[in-house]
Point group: C2
């Protein structure tokens, strides 16, 4: 293949992506916001989200500029810091685009549910998520394509794309941790306020807008940056492995081509969802499967045509299958028998609910890890060695356009329900949005499985790229230094989890105190005649999130540097292994445990085991509240921690 | 040194140990049980404990005989299975001796508190713990000495002592898991019953005797078997390392000699406690320090006299210091500011209490792991290489006589309080026993820190012994097979924790149902005019514990075998690394989180933050109940899991 041909493919695929984004935005805008109250609430949510994003981006930009300066100084080169800053900019821009769409689609989903019924509402939320999905895929591909265009001939190309990967990691970490702390401090705060007799979604609850903003900044923007990072990380690490092996041009560019083909496949999937009428659950699922099938077809055609060794196609299949399989296991633990066990255990109180939830979370790590280990081994043995392992990660993430769409759909549906409630819409509207929201919980579980699966595969790929670049043949754990590195690496996920969980707890407590103050001081609030001061709650969440995201971020960047300079390069490899193993396990436990608690509460609310307001329900609320920071703050932060540390290590040695 | 001289030292030291045991038993027996009701209760506890022990030992013996048969078949040798069975027998016998003393000392502590006051009560409980401590040390030393006597000249001596280590691991795992499930199903059950308005220690509570039995079988017998295993494991692994390095007789026998000197030091410590009058807290602490100082003095004298390289003395010091330091860190997290934070967080409900408790548990892993990693590196670099690392483990465990004494003191004091309550003794008696019990909680935290620290060091030593025996120079984590092994190893602690936590939950639920049944069906129970059916609760806990300990045990033994035969020997090394890192971190989190929850509840009960029956107290009870299986079932099971898997691996390759 010529390089012109490559650029043409990248340009076409990302151009198609931009057209899809335009189309989706037009479809969303076609729903008119015909209700003043709903419009007012939606605008409060949007402005809260945008304010947070602006403040967050200020901090991230400052850190990014400092690091870019250090990179320029250390490398005496401008390409490296430029690639780093380009990636940071794209990641933040993608977050902005996706967030705008999500905060426009939420209220329109509510309106569509009222005026046109379930399927229109479903499509509106689905399209809202689609903007984020396609933004991640198109801008990511285009960005890496641009870097390739300008620097693939340079001798330090590996350094440059590593810097590009590092930029996405940096933004992802802060966006995930900051967004995660924001969303859960508001959510936990709103839950705790529930004990005062004010439901979570009640317009009298001063934390309610902050809670809805949180869904956007955590689950939409945070998740987008997370997946963007995996997407870039998988491509970058496989390109590095190919380059280290002196592979030819067709192999080095394979990750880019596969991602381009995956983007086209995702477009097929989303239009399938648009044109083929089907039940909501089927739509989300089938769109994914159709996209994946189309992608696999294109990939096979391309690789046959170019006479690329088909072992790599095996690796691609392994990646796709693993993503789906991990998603299914996640669904089982968060929606199947284990979840029902957690619900049952609530009958005897909060303590047993917590014990069972933790137990389910821990057990749920077993099959995904065994499965991913097996997949990695198969990809290694039958999919073309280490490069095959990284291609499996690329394959898993190639259809990110559609998987991210399904993922970002969830918080929009959740928000839509809140808006319906606060605007005083008819109960039938709430029923539709509740149905869509429940579906979103399942897809979110699937999305989290995907995020963890891709994080694992990407970090294994990054780890191998690191070893190649460092020129080390063996990282020997019998060496006490390496073993010490493994232990230090293993500690990091525990430390980051501890810090982020406590941050959520602290911020939630402040939120509760503020809400109590408002109920005491604002006359007419309890009766619903005066509006609460939503802004002060938003300010609390914003401040806490921005303040508390710094320490874990700095520690995660410093740990690899400290180990490298004190114990050496092999110990740094040990650090990555320890962090990856412990991080993946903890992240799985937290995501699935949290999901099981959440759904167990919903299961009881659906009328089982005594229903709402029973003793079991009260116990289940405790579990749900504990699960909130598990699944939406600490767990996701770990996915990025392991990639961030790998990228920092890679940067250190290249 | 001649071998005669070695045997003389071992015989003298263990003989001294037996004399101490005799003396302590006589001192305990000198307190006459002058109260019929207390005597009746104590005898119910003792018979419950003995019944459980008998049933448990039946199962363990069956498994042990099967394994011995397999060993005989595989090795075509009788020494190997004989050493294995000898070790099993000694471990069980030690558990029996320690348990008898503990179930005799508990009631006598109550009586001494009533008739003679605090310091007599303290000494009675202390001596009760001492029997377990000195039994572990003396029988362990003597047993390994006997094995050395009969087989040190044989070519497969390494195999034989590995089998001896494996026996202690097998018993330890079952005793810890079985005892842990027993004690916590009874405790959680009794806690949950508290919600019916019946306090935990109330004689009308049918689960109360089972709860007291649980303290004995879990915290006394289980802990004893656990520490016994570390003690043996440390000696065995360092002897193997010395033999692999073709070291001379004085070096190979150094672990035995150090343990003998530690036993003498422990005797000095216990008599210091007996003769020097001091406050309870000071006594427990000073006895440990005196014993350690004496031991270090003897060790220095011996090594100088024998002209043994003093780098190994550095290793011994590192071991002792590490044990104390980990204990101090544990004390800080379970009794210092972090614990108070957990108590404060209870004010806003159970959810925040759980979030903070988990966060404290996670954070508490950081310093111990960094410290132990540093200690291991120092021991390696300045204490004589890999053998130095294992000698540090031996040094940490040499004074096991006294550290185990302090540890086993806790449940006796706890039991004493329960007996005082049930026998209707004056409140002043209860006040004394409560004080001793509270002290026991701190020392138990220290003991757990010790157990984890020694488990880590022992398993690092075992791991190195494994690598030496397997003749592998490198366990390279870049190899995907090894990495897969690391992941599978990392999953095991999560799986074992999940299983054991659920077992406790299930059994506790059964217990609650049974208690509710009794209150419904037994006329006069609520009024206190009829006795409850204690035996049925004991039967539930016994059955659950024996039934549920099998699966985790079998999985832990099979996992290394499966990985060895499917992925090879390097992957088996990876498995050990993964299991050790994850196991140590989870065990620390569980032990310290559980301790912090427990003490936060007690802190509130002492009148802080609203005191008993406040909302904060109710929230703290939830945390305490969750912490119970954390700190006394799952966490401790992990200490043994990592050692058991290492020993199985060692057995596979030798």
């Amino acid at each position: 293949m010529t390089s012109d041909c490559l650029y043409a493919i990248i340009a076409c695929a990302s151009g198609l992506g931009f057209l899809v984004i335009l189309f989706l935005n037009l479809r969303i805008a076609s729903v008119k916001v015909s209700d003043t109250k709903a419009a007012k609430i939606a605008s409060a949510i949007r402005s809260g989200a945008m304010i947070f994003l602006r403040e967050e981006y200020k901090i991230i930009s400052t850190v990014a500029l400092v690091i870019a300066g250090l990179l320029a100084y250390a490398t005496q080169d401008l390409y490296v810091p430029a690639a780093f800053l380009l990636s940071c900019t794209i990641s933040m821009f993608v977050g902005f685009v996706g967030m705008r769409a999500a905060t426009g689609a939420n209220v329109r989903t509510t309106i569509a549910a009222r005026d046109q019924g379930e399927s229109a509402a479903l499509l509106t939320a689905f399209f809202g998520g689609g903007v984020m999905g396609f933004a991640v895929a198109s801008f990511g591909l285009l960005g890496l394509g641009i870097v390739f265009y300008f620097s693939s001939e340079l001798s330090h190309f590996v350094q440059i794309i590593t810097a590009f990967g590092a930029g996405s990691s940096l933004v992802a970490f802060f966006a995930r941790v900051g967004g995660g702390i924001y969303t859960k401090s508001a959510d936990v705060g709103a839950d705790l306020v529930g004990k005062l007799g004010i439901p979570e979604d009640d317009p009298r609850n001063p934390a309610v807008i902050a809670d809805n903003v949180g869904d956007c900044v955590g689950d939409t923007a945070g998740m987008g940056a997370d997946i963007f990072e995996s997407y870039i990380g998988a491509m970058v690490s496989s390109m590095i492995l190919a380059i280290s092996a002196n592979a030819d041009f067709n192999i080095v560019t394979l990750p880019l081509i596969l991602s381009a083909l995956g983007l086209v496949g995702s477009a097929v999937g989303i239009f399938f969802g648009y044109f083929v009428k089907q039940a909501p659950a089927a739509l989300l699922r089938n769109a994914t499967y159709v996209a994946m099938t189309a992608f696999l077809g294109y990939a096979y055609a391309y690789m046959s045509y170019m006479a690329i060794d088909l072992v790599y196609f095996v690796a691609v299949i392994i990646g796709c299958v693993s993503g789906v399989a991990i998603g299914m296991i996640t669904e089982y633990y968060t929606g199947g028998k284990p979840m029902v066990d957690v619900a049952r255990s609530s009958v005897s109180g909060a303590a047993t609910n917590i014990i069972y939830g933790l137990s389910v979370g821990m057990e749920s790590t077993v099959f995904p890890v065994l499965f991913l280990s097996g997949a990695t081994l198969i990809a290694f043995n039958f999919g073309g060695g280490l490069f095959g392992v990284s291609i499996a990660a690329v394959g898993m993430l190639a259809t990110v356009g559609i998987t991210m769409t399904v993922d970002a759909y969830g918080p929009i549906a959740d928000n839509a329900g809140g808006i319906a409630e606060m605007s005083g819409f008819d109960k039938s509207v709430r029923k539709i949005t509740d149905g869509l929201d429940a579906l979103g919980n399942t897809t979110a579980a699937m999305g989290k499985g995907f995020a963890i699966g891709s994080a694992l595969m990407t970090s294994v790929a990054l780890f191998n790229a690191f070893a190649q670049q460092a020129g080390i043949i063996a990282i020997n754990v019998i060496d006490p230094k390496v073993l010490a590195g493994v232990f230090v690496g293993g500690v990091m996920p525990f430390l980051v989890s501890a810090l982020t969980m406590r941050s959520v707890g602290d911020a939630a407590l402040k939120m509760v105190i503020e809400v109590r103050r408002q109920f005491k001081e604002i006359v007419g609030l309890a009766e619903g005649t005066t509006d609460p001061d939503y802004a002060s709650c938003i300010a609390i969440a914003t401040k806490a999130a921005l303040h508390e995201m710094i320490l874990p971020g700095v520690l995660s960047i410093l740990a690899p540097i400290a180990v490298y300079y004190s114990l050496g390069i092999e110990a740094l490899g040990g650090l990555l292994v320890g962090a990856t193993v412990v991080g993946v396990l903890l992240a799985l436990m937290m995501a699935n445990g949290g999901g099981a608690w959440d759904n167990a509460k919903k299961y009881i609310e659906s009328g089982e085991l005594g229903g709402k307001c029973s003793e079991a329900h009260r116990a289940a609320i405790v579990g749900d509240t504990v699960g909130d920071p598990f699944k939406d703050t600490s767990g996701p932060a770990l996915n990025i921690l392991i990639k961030l540390m790998s990228v920092v290590a890679l940067l250190l040695v290249s």
